[in-house]
Subunit: 514 residues, 2 copies
């Protein structure tokens, strides 16, 4: 029954086929013809920018390919452009003049923040100008009373975190890449990260943006207001637009007060069926101090332990556990928070029909870190085990295990589940956000595995009304997969909106929309 | 110095004048010609809808003017349209067919929810068809695990609140009008209300919408996902569009777990200067359980007491108090919350340089309600005192008192502050949200008072980069004031977006954009 529900139905197959056909026919419309950067263009940029703000093989002090490479390649080495020219403006006015010129000359522009994205959104596809925001890194203002921070787009997330810390505030987002990702890039990709369950998405916490539109117009919506009902909330379009509508040059963002204390606990569950009632119980008992509820299936747990993570639970405690949950609290007073967490654990363990086999509460900061390391160590363990096909999807919480299991069965039915092909299918992720990381670990990347996985997984996601990209975005990597999560009506509207902002198609061409 | 900072500068005057001129010249472009509803149209609607879904003076069973009046008039009696025809569809498909027809025939459509708005957004200006969502009132689904509720647009907020209560969830918004306002209207006006400080705006809590576009196309973005980074977040445009881009027919919204306990305290402050450090202290000490921080100035307090609200503090305690603050907590465990609130009060009272004169903590539910009644009674007291000019503005927290005082001085300088003209100028509102309710109470509505207040107040708001409509919207009432809060670049983009969705201009004509 379950299998039937999540397998793509015939009618869906047809709907999707029609949708993809439509998408293809739309994309066969004559593409916008963009021009390459020439020496004249670089000479013009020299009249706008300081010499140190230009890295170009066409300038009078030509850059080497190596110098350009860090801007042309993404950090995982999957995407590589051939840009000849990188511009690093220092002011919004400079960005405006660059875009005005590129728009008139029909030169493509690829805005680039920390270049930490996962879908190739921040590197050029061909020879677009790379517009790096790295030199725009001033904090414009911080109001310790309201907690509103206004910062240039190129400010690094960690720098901002450090800046607000003495005022007892934190950034509403936190990412693994925080040491190099930039706030403008965070906003442009609508970064999710570890604090979303508690502080919500950037659509709620970003109060304003300053954007340079492709024709050079500066759109100043850099308000610091929490409430402003004066017309359409245009700034929202730039949150997650991946630089395809304009260049975000500054951001106004609401920073929450810092919690005074954090703690965590790992719970072993006899069955995935218990995850959902457990989530309800935990939400009810911990209420406003719950800050993470992370799921790790048994395969993921075993893999993390195999590849060196500390065993949080004894072998005996792990016996019979089908999956694990990591619960984190962040609150205003340590003794209250600990009392709540202790009571929760006691109630869970002494229940008539316990939802958990066992649980371990962190007793000190070292244990706190070690429990998180187990959860975060899954990624590393997967790389050590083999080659990984990774899917970052949003689906209903109730289908997490179902999707992992049915993917495994699907691969088995194709004869691909054995030592020389797929070694493991595992799931982990943010139950609280409905975000599952589905990993398929193989001995090697093989076309038959790829063909077995796609479009299979995208169809499963579509059938569950899920998202083929929960937090990473579309970039250059998933433009073909967009129809699995967005209807043709939505995609058509996106194209019309793109056309309103960027009629010449110079902004980050080839990203988001095909 | 302060006065100088918030008085409109000359350069601002010039900038605004230019902006208004531009706005006017744009509005002199030939307006879209819309047609009146005829008998043929009503006959066509009869082929789509059940007879009980049509209220029209042009139908075979003609409605009286009285029957139409409730749809033509807003509840405060300030706006009145002359619609002959009200349609009350029961399904999204019916809405689609109505809009398709109206779009082809160039008939204006005014979507109407509970008709509880404050800016005339939900009643027709001329004889547009009124499209009432009242018959679309089914709850489509509720997932008690994720807390995601999917409901027809016409569901009443209180009904939804009652529906999720047994699951220990609450709606993320709460309004005075909750007994009659509808969730589709809440979303279309981006309603703020009493819970914004705690749960954020609808831009964060609304996960998806179903919208019928003017040409009848159904845009299905009714996702229940917390995370979905697949292209532009188009649904955001409908949040706060006041029905000018399409008709919201269903909403998917995240409902938070219900708090287990609430409490409140009223604090008397010797000076407004103390409000801001107090806000910081309260945020730090109460952290995640702080759910309201409301400001009442002395004039507002005295007026509420004069007109019958219980005196929360003794005459002695009130002596020397320049303003008052109401703090509310909502948390997961009563004893913890009370301990935090008690400690806060003790720390405030025993500080070396106390920020407050005194404070009173509610000891039981009756006192809790009575403290809220004092805050909420200001509105009623103002109506009893005289005729009120009301401004719902967002400005930086630090300028709250300054704006109230400078408005009073401005009226005094015009010779209007005396018994036969302006009797009181007062301020109260949501410090936590930066939302000030500025009220000018007069003996009667007089043109010279109106002229002294506008554009003066709008200019002050503009100079502070504030919002001329924090939570009520623009509707029909404030289209002329939009340029004080939005730049011409923003307004031009809004017009282009309007044109993408509604090229024939049939949706709620005359609202938001002139």
């Amino acid at each position: 029954m379950l299998r039937a529900r999540i397998s793509p139905s015939n009618s869906l197959h047809r709907r999707l086929a029609a949708s993809l056909k439509h998408a293809r026919s739309a994309s066969t419309a004559p593409a916008v013809k963009l021009n390459s950067v020439g020496k004249d263009d670089v000479a013009h940029f020299s009249s706008i920018l300081a010499p140190t703000s230009i890295v170009s093989s066409l300038s009078t002090a030509p850059a080497t390919e190596d110098e350009l490479d860090q801007y042309n390649s993404d950090w995982i080495g999957r995407f590589k452009g051939q840009s000849t020219t990188v511009l690093k403006p220092k002011t919004t006015e400079e960005v405006s003049q660059i875009l005005k010129w590129c728009n008139e000359k029909r030169i493509g522009v690829c805005p680039q923040g920390g270049n930490t994205g996962l879908v190739g959104g921040s590197v050029p596809i061909k020879d677009e100008v790379v517009l790096s925001l790295s030199n725009m890194n001033k904090i414009r203002s911080f109001d310790p009373i309201s907690g509103v921070l206004v910062a240039d787009a190129g400010c690094i997330l960690q720098t901002l975190t450090d800046y607000v810390a003495p005022h007892h505030h934190i950034m509403p987002i936190d990412l693994g890449a925080k040491g190099s990702c930039q706030i403008g890039g965070n906003v442009s990709t609508n970064a999710g990260g570890l604090r979303l369950l508690r502080y919500g998405s950037l659509h709620g916490t970003v109060l304003g943006v300053e954007v340079v539109l492709p024709d050079g117009t500066i759109l100043d919506q850099l308000t610091t207001l929490r409430k402003d009902n004066t017309g359409y909330d245009i700034k929202q379009l730039f949150i997650g637009a991946e630089g395809t509508l304009g260049v975000v040059t500054a951001v106004s963002i609401l920073t929450p007060p810092a919690p005074q204390a954090s703690n965590n606990v790992i719970l072993a569950l006899p069955s995935f069926k218990n995850v959902l009632p457990l989530f309800q119980t935990v939400k009810r008992e911990l209420s406003e101090i719950l800050s993470a509820f992370e799921f790790i299936d048994r395969t993921a747990y075993d893999l993390a332990v195999k590849h060196g993570q500390g065993r949080a639970l004894t072998e005996e405690e792990v016996e019979g556990a089908e999956c694990f949950v990591l619960v984190e609290t962040s609150g205003g007073r340590r003794e209250h928070d600990e009392e709540k967490l202790n009571d929760l654990l006691e109630n869970l363990l002494t229940a008539d029909e316990p939802l958990i086999n066992t649980g371990v509460l962190a007793q000190n900061p070292a244990q706190f870190s070690s429990l998180w390391a187990l959860r975060e160590g899954v990624t590393e363990a997967v790389s050590k085990e083999g080659k990984a096909y990774k899917y970052d999807i949003s689906i209903p919480l109730s289908s997490f295990q179902e999707v992992v299991d049915s993917t495994r069965e699907h691969l088995r039915s194709k004869g691909l589940l054995h030592d020389k092909a797929v070694k493991a299918v595992l799931g982990y992720g943010h139950v609280g956000d409905g975000n599952l990381h589905l990993n398929i670990v193989a001995d090697a990347f093989l076309p038959e595995i790829q063909d077995a996985l796609e479009p299979y997984i995208y169809e499963v996601v579509q059938n569950l009304r899920g998202s083929v990209s929960a937090e990473h975005g579309i970039g250059a990597m998933k433009t073909h997969a967009l129809p699995y999560s967005k209807s043709q009506v939505s995609i058509d509207l996106m194209k019309k909106i793109k056309n309103v902002f960027d009629p010449n198609g110079i902004m980050n061409p080839g990203k988001v929309l095909e």
